[in-house]
Amino acid sequence: MHGNTPITGLKPKDYKTGIKPVWCPGCGDFSVLSAVTKALAHLALPHQNVAMISGIGCSSRLPAYTSVYGFHGVHGRALALASGLKAARPDLTVLVAGGDGDGFSIGGNHFLHACRRNMDMTYIVMDNEVYGMTKGQASPTTAPDWTQSKLTPHGPGVPQFIPAAIALVSGATFIARGFTGNPNGLTKLLVEAIEHPGFSFVQALSPCPTYRPEHKAWKKQVRPVEEEATSDPIIAAQRIQTDDGMSTGVLYQTTVPVWQPEQGISADTGQLEEVFFV
């Protein structure tokens, strides 16, 4: 294992900007920041060749805290912005960060199509089952009987969105689940996700100490997936649908061609104009 590690003088801290996060103390997102910077240091990726794209929400603050290129865009559109960047600049390592509301509710459509498009990028969703920046409303991953939001006093009453299952049927080629209580395990998943050619999706269970204090129990509920990652979508579907969403590790990985536009020059503008001549 040691021999595989690139020789580098870069430390995780070198990938932090030093801007003080606004996250609540105890927030799982700190561990994601730690895992992301560890992964970048491990891969020894030059700062200028990495872009971290996000939307809006607690977790979407991540780009400001990492010292790579970043874009803190609008709510729900991180994957779209990242897809445009990757299409225009295939040489960059593109990471996308966001939360469950940003990614699965307002950005749900982009999630489907980013999975389907299979561009070579990594999407990290910090799933805390709640909207943290707008006062703790239910998100798509909130349990139907969670009654703590004034907006849904009887609970959202609708089944939870299962991110891994949606990713699978939408065509994602790498699906993993991590837990912020195990940042080094999460780092490993992120490294694998970044190295995976194609769209890699990492759901990071990230407790919200403010709105979901009961998430402290997650620590006892999470466990490593029992089986090796499968490349069979039927097996993956069965595993994903039958577990309780607390198993961590790579859930599915397969290799299919990555979508990337062709880029080569075969004509100049003048030649394009020739077709218009009468």
Binding site: K20, V22, M133, T187, P209, K216
Partner: protein, 175 residues
């Protein structure tokens, strides 16, 4: 102490890399917590974490001196032989609260030092390398000193068992 087979550290460079990483990650975490407490307007606890970071820094420098002239291995974060999910002195994030008291902060730190001590003790008991065992025992001893120092600090607090006060304000709506 029972040895966990794949957590046995066999060489001095490997051990020193663990020790340095333990201390550096601890310092980094305390700095981060200091920042976080500052952001959340808890300057007293921010100061506690800063102080812990400073001590950690000194300790890390000491350990790094042991490594002078040695070529340390490069180990991916997930292949470190910790007995804890993260390195032992980074703490349990869930115990944090922005209104945490000095007592709570020091107990958090004590927990870190205890885990650090346990790690070194584990190495001292299980390593196949004599030199590593001796150095680990020495470091475990130092961690014990830190624990004693923290315990004394805690005892001197007016109200060591105080818990976070009730939050009189609702959470903010930020975006």
């Amino acid at each position: 102490m029972t040895a966990i087979p794949n957590l046995i550290i066999e060489t001095l460079p490997e051990f020193l890399l663990h020790a340095i990483t333990l201390e550096r990650e601890s310092v980094e975490r305390y700095e981060e917590l200091g920042d976080s407490m500052e952001v959340h307007n808890n300057p007293q606890i921010a100061a506690v974490f800063r102080k812990l970071a400073r001590y950690g820094e000194l300790h890390a420098n000491e350990i790094e001196q042991h490594a002078t002239g040695l070529e340390l291995p490069r180990i991916p974060p997930w292949d470190f032989k910790w007995t804890t999910p993260e390195s032992p002195e980074t703490g349990d994030m869930e115990q944090l609260h922005y209104l945490m008291t000095q007592g709570q902060a020091l107990i958090f730190a004590l927990h870190n030092e205890t885990q650090g001590r346990d790690f070194y003790a584990h190495v001292a008991a299980t390593s196949t390398n004599q030199e590593v065992r001796e150095l680990a025992a020495e470091f475990a001893e130092e961690e014990t000193d830190h624990m004693n120092w923290l315990n004394a600090w805690i005892r001197n607090l007016a109200d060591p068992d105080s818990v976070s006060p009730e939050d009189l304000d609702p959470p903010n709506v930020t975006e």
